[in-house]
């Protein structure tokens, strides 16, 4: 009979219940959109923030520790320890958080003379294609990481062994234009090479006084075949928290559970730790200004989305409260009658609450799909990309619908408890 009563009210009173379903749908759609964007905004904002450059710097362990502490002579062995083998770099894309490594580029500094003037030359990957042993293929390099640079001329490629990217300041000093030639000499190695100006770039930093060439060129001139000096890495990271800070100081101080949680979260410190695991001879330093700024912006954006979600849910709960109360007032005679016929408060509450919850869940389902649509509109309008629907939202939506309906119905349920059949049945 309970099922029959529920079905009857749903079928025969659908117009009256439509407004409740509509309100729930609206609240849930906003919450779904906000939550989807909130869960996705991390990646989106991170992608945007990658324009600020690398957030990890890989340097040889010896250079980082020994050479910083002691002034050692540059013997051959010591020298080798101050560089990173180029063929080790593929390991960067083999860590647990490989997919969070957006880009990376190695650098090798060569102190050169151009027209008898000292010029710093940097060898790097411009857009190197890598085949990772895991089977993945990656294109990575400096051009993607320095997206804010303005570059005149055609894009530099890694197989261009005669070309050079010349900084704006240096080009002005030497009166260089695209297509001009320049002779580069390395006094230390007595190597000499003629290069063509392929690009003139503006970075807004010290790089404007430098020369960028393909890595093999720099290695040849510096006589450092297969070696790089440092690597800049741009990684998508989770904002730092107390656990990450504790781990950054000393990972061994973590409990097993803390360690697991830290290791399996894309904190900058855990990514750095994993990079050091696969490349034992390097030290990975987090560029904290960038990492913390990213974390801070991300946290604030997510907080904003969360507050909007909560606000939309509170609004929905208030609207539902009004609607359910109005519904109960309208049905007070019917509720009084059921009580007069022997229904207990809990039986009546169960009946009304079941009706409202079913209606709310129907509204919730509609609201969820509407919310996915809203999320795409936000994604395309704000970030210019698709917002990936997150499965975690579905149980959250179910809990939300249940809670906002229950909370919204509480005043009406309370009113129902105190409703006396005598007050509504005699019609006087």
């Amino acid at each position: 009979m309970f099922r029959r009563m529920i079905l009857s009210v749903l079928v025969r009173q659908k117009k009256k219940l439509f407004l409740i379903a509509f309100t729930v749908a609206l609240g849930v759609s906003l919450a779904t959109a906000m939550l989807n964007v909130m869960f996705d905004v991390g990646d989106k904002v991170n992608q945007e923030l990658k324009a600020y450059g690398a957030n990890l710097n890989i340097v040889p362990r010896a250079a980082a520790v020994v050479n910083e502490m002691y002034e050692l002579d540059n013997g051959d062995k010591q020298q080798a320890m101050q560089f990173i083998p180029e063929d080790e770099l593929v390991k960067i894309k083999m860590i647990f958080w490989a997919y969070n490594i957006v880009d990376f580029a190695p650098y090798l500094t060569v102190h050169t003379m151009v027209n008898d003037k000292p010029v710093t030359m940097m060898g790097t990957w411009f857009n190197k294609h890598l085949n990772i042993p895991t089977g993945d293929k990656v294109d990575t390099g400096m051009l993607a990481m320095k997206s804010w640079w303005t570059i005149d001329g055609e894009k530099m490629t890694d197989d261009n062994l005669q070309g050079a990217m010349v900084g704006e300041t240096l080009a002005k000093q030497m009166n260089l234009k695209i297509g001009d030639s320049l002779v580069v000499a390395v006094p230390q190695t007595h190597e000499k090479m003629t290069l063509t100006v392929h690009n003139i770039f503006h970075s807004g930093g010290s790089e404007d006084g430098q020369l960028f060439v393909s890595l093999p060129v720099a290695q040849k001139l510096a006589d450092k075949p297969g070696l790089v000096e440092r690597v800049e890495v741009s990684a998508l990271t989770t904002p730092e928290n107390a656990l990450a800070r504790k781990a950054a100081q000393d990972p061994t101080s973590l409990s097993r559970a803390e360690w697991d949680r830290w290791y399996c979260t894309a904190y900058i410190s855990s990514i750095a730790y994993q990079l050091e695991e696969v490349m034992p001879d390097v030290r990975v330093k987090a560029i904290m200004q960038v990492a913390e700024s990213e974390g801070s912006i991300l946290q604030k954006t997510q907080l904003l989305m969360l507050l909007l979600t909560i606000l939309s849910l509170v609004c929905a709960a208030l609207a539902i409260s009004n609607l359910v109360t109005a519904n109960v007032i309208e049905r007070s005679t019917e509720i009084g009658l059921l009580k007069a016929l022997g229904a207990t408060n809990s039986e009546v509450a169960l009946l009304v609450l079941t009706e409202i919850l079913i209606v709310a869940f129907i509204g919730g389902i509609a609201g969820y799909f509407l919310g996915l649509g809203f999320a795409q509109i936000i994604g395309h309008t704000v970030f210019g990309s698709f917002v990936e629907p997150k499965m975690i939202i579905i149980p959250l939506v179910i809990i939300m619908v249940f809670l906002i309906t229950l909370l919204g119905s509480l005043p009406a349920l309370r009113m129902m408890m105190f409703l006396r059949p005598t007050a509504v049945l005699h019609g006087r």
């Binding site: 009979m1 009563m5 009857s8 019917e334 059921l338 022997g342 006396r420 059949p421 049945l425």
Partner: protein, 245 residues
């Protein structure tokens, strides 16, 4: 034959029964008062009703008819005094205990019918079964048949006339075989033809042994009862034996 007893200390104690003293008392109201602030809706009302009697309660507006009906119908409790229904003291029971008594022992008929608007006539009868014990569609249909509405079992209340709705209400009231049928102005919203039909049904129920208490302002309805209790200013003003025994 019904008699009226007035006790020694001259308070109104009305024993409404047959000469046959073997019958048990279905209802005993002793010194019942109901006070709302300074308003005495009922004052020291005494009433005893035997099983199988038909009693009507009459009186002008504000005389306490509805208050008395609410107390007898387990929908309210007296401020003082005691009420026994079917041998059980219901005076100080909680709301949930009163609900249980009402469900098990009382069949209610309302002036405004009060059918659940989204349930069919049959389902409206079954609702009473559902809250009482078990739903039996066949039995509910028989109850509707008894009031001449088997053919309209699948109709919604809005598709039924006032008289038909009241007959559904009667079918619902009798479906659980209540000890007491309590009717509040059962013909108040009906025309003459429907009034006659409803009274005929009540007569049938009475002949089958049901105890019926009808609250009415209509002398015509009242005269169908064996006894009429007239209330004035919250007190039993008089008891009239209608000589129908």
């Amino acid at each position: 034959m019904a008699i009226m007893n007035i006790d020694n200390n001259n308070t109104n104690h009305h024993n409404i029964n047959n000469n046959n003293t073997n019958k048990t008392h279905i209802l005993e109201v002793k010194d019942v008062s109901k006070i709302y602030g300074s308003l005495h809706a009922l004052s020291d009302v005494n009433l005893t009703v035997e099983e199988g009697r038909w009693l009507s309660i009459m009186g002008p507006s504000g005389s306490g008819k509805t208050t008395l009906m609410n107390i007898i119908g387990c929908m309210d409790t007296p401020t003082c005094g005691s009420v026994h229904l079917d041998g059980q003291d219901i005076t100080r029971l909680s709301l949930s205990e009163l609900t249980k008594i009402r469900r098990d022992k009382i069949g209610l008929i309302f002036q405004q019918f009060h059918l659940v608007p989204y349930l069919t006539a049959l389902e409206n009868v079954m609702v009473a079964q559902y809250y009482h014990s078990m739903v039996d569609e066949k039995e509910a249909l028989q109850a509707l048949d008894r009031v001449g509405l088997a053919a309209r079992a699948k109709h919604l209340p809005r598709q039924l006339s006032g008289g038909e709705q009241q007959r559904v209400c009667i079918a619902r009231a009798l479906i659980n075989y209540p000890k007491l049928i309590l009717a509040d102005e059962p013909t108040g919203n009906l025309d003459e033809a429907n009034e006659e039909m409803i009274m005929k049904l009540l007569h049938q129920l009475h002949e089958e042994g049901s105890t019926i208490i009808v609250v009415t302002h209509s002398p015509e309805v009242s005269q169908h009862a064996q006894t009429t209790v007239v209330l004035e200013y919250g007190k039993v003003a008089r008891v009239v034996n209608n000589h129908i025994d």
